[in-house]
């Protein structure tokens, strides 16, 4: 049961944090249509996070009520209790970096949910089935933008190359299972993430080829991980400070 809770929270945290990051673009997007697009993607991700948090809270409250709700899980947990990967908490940077972060993550989530649809756990399978349709749109949108920028102007190409240099080091963690992911996969309700790496790499290579981006993937920086076990960068601290401020200052406030 503890593994199922941790695994569900991990899925929720990934979606919530990336959703929150994307929402930082609302009102600041490069053009109106893309401002709307990134805000829509934020909304989808936060919706998925809500479904996972609601499920996690029913699991936590069973058999003894512990008064967990989707809101207490999002707003009242500390940084080291969050189980999202480091990739999703990275700052937005420029549009190229935001696009690439979305593309890396959507390509991962697309394959993850395809497998999670067959989970032995009916609720996780249902959330995955529902979310996969949304993620398909995210993947298409972010793939097109990687190509548009990579194969665009000298400026957009170099920004894309810089984004790869900044973010590549966080992609390994997606495919390194945390203990609860291993146990979840072993029990048949989770996905063996290390098995997704080849499909993911192939998708990235195909898109990068079309985007005229280098596909050698020589990591310039040491791979970084630990987020899934609660070891985060200072960036998550700052996100939570902003996101949780209201509920921590005025507990249970509603609007």
């Amino acid at each position: 049961m503890k593994e199922l809770i941790n695994y569900t929270l991990h899925l929720a945290d990934d979606s919530l944090i990336l959703g929150h990051r994307n929402s930082e673009w609302t009102g600041h997007g490069p053009i109106l249509e893309q401002d709307i697009a990134i805000s829509n993607i934020a909304l989808d991700l936060i919706g998925q996070a809500r479904n996972f948090y609601q499920y996690a809270s029913t699991l936590i409250n069973n058999p003894t009520p512990k008064y967990a709700t989707e809101d207490t899980l999002a707003y009242l947990r500390n940084t080291n209790e969050f189980k999202n990967c480091l990739l999703v908490e990275q700052p937005n940077g420029d549009w190229a970096k935001t696009i690439l972060r979305q593309f890396f993550f959507s390509a991962y989530q697309f394959h993850l949910y395809q497998h999670l649809q067959n989970s032995r756990d009916g609720t996780l399978a249902a959330i995955a089935e529902k979310s996969l349709k949304e993620v398909t749109y995210h993947l298409r949108w972010s793939s097109e933008w990687v190509i548009r920028l990579g194969d665009g102007t000298e400026e957009s190409h170099s920004r894309m190359v810089n984004a790869v240099d900044d973010l590549w080091m966080f992609t390994d963690e997606l495919f390194q299972p945390a203990l609860y992911e291993l146990l979840a996969a072993g029990e048949g309700f989770g996905v063996n993430v290390s098995s997704l790496k080849n499909e993911w790499l192939k998708k990235v290579k195909d898109i990068f080829d079309e985007a005229t981006l280098p596909t050698s993937f020589e990591a310039k920086k040491e791979p970084s991980s630990g987020g899934k076990d609660g070891k985060h960068s200072e960036h998550l601290e700052k996100i939570l400070a902003e996101m949780q401020f209201l509920q921590r200052t005025y507990p249970n406030s509603e609007w």
Partner: protein, 172 residues
């Protein structure tokens, strides 16, 4: 008794036709295809409990809370007391569940209705082969501006014939 129960359920389905989507106010929850089931418990006893099971269009659809509340309000107004609105995720909602009548109403409202799902729901990039008809001048000479529109369920198009931008209720 079974007949009576069926009639009672049918009455609720009819009532639900009057509950509109707050974001696309020409469509009822029935037109949208988001009501999955209506159940009446303990029909024989006086304590008839009504359960309406709905499914969200999109995970983050902000209209779902308002829709649940509106369903509850309509049932309360009609004197129903024990009301439960629950939500299921599987099978996932698809635009194929939208009624034909709903699609006509959408078009009259100025939103292009969803086309058959096989045409659009895939990961292929930059495709523009799908023919989305302009709800204003009915031309098929239209262009996708953005896959994401004013709400999660819509994409933004522009008609190259009459030059009007329009929303397309995208396939899902």
């Amino acid at each position: 008794m079974i007949e009576e129960k069926k009639i009672a359920e049918e009455k609720i389905w009819r009532l639900l036709e009057t509950v509109m989507d707050p974001e696309v106010p020409v469509l009822s929850v029935i037109d949208l295809g988001i009501v999955r089931a209506v159940k009446i418990d303990d029909y024989a006893s006086g304590e008839r409990g009504i359960e309406v099971i709905i499914t969200p269009t999109y995970s983050g659809c902000p209209a779902m809370d308002a829709i649940s509340m509106n369903i509850r309000m309509v049932l309360l107004e009609q004197g129903y007391k024990k009301i439960k609105i629950s939500s299921v995720l599987s099978p996932a909602w698809t635009t194929d569940w939208m009624s034909e009548y709903g699609k006509e109403k959408l078009k009259a409202f100025g939103i292009a209705p969803p086309t058959a799902k096989q045409q659009v729901c895939h990961t292929a990039l930059f495709h523009d082969g799908e023919a989305i008809q302009c709800p204003h001048c009915h031309s098929y000479h239209t262009k996708l501006v953005s896959q994401f529109g004013s709400t999660a369920c819509k994409a933004l198009y522009v008609c190259e014939n009459c030059k009007e931008p329009f929303d397309y209720f995208k396939c899902h």
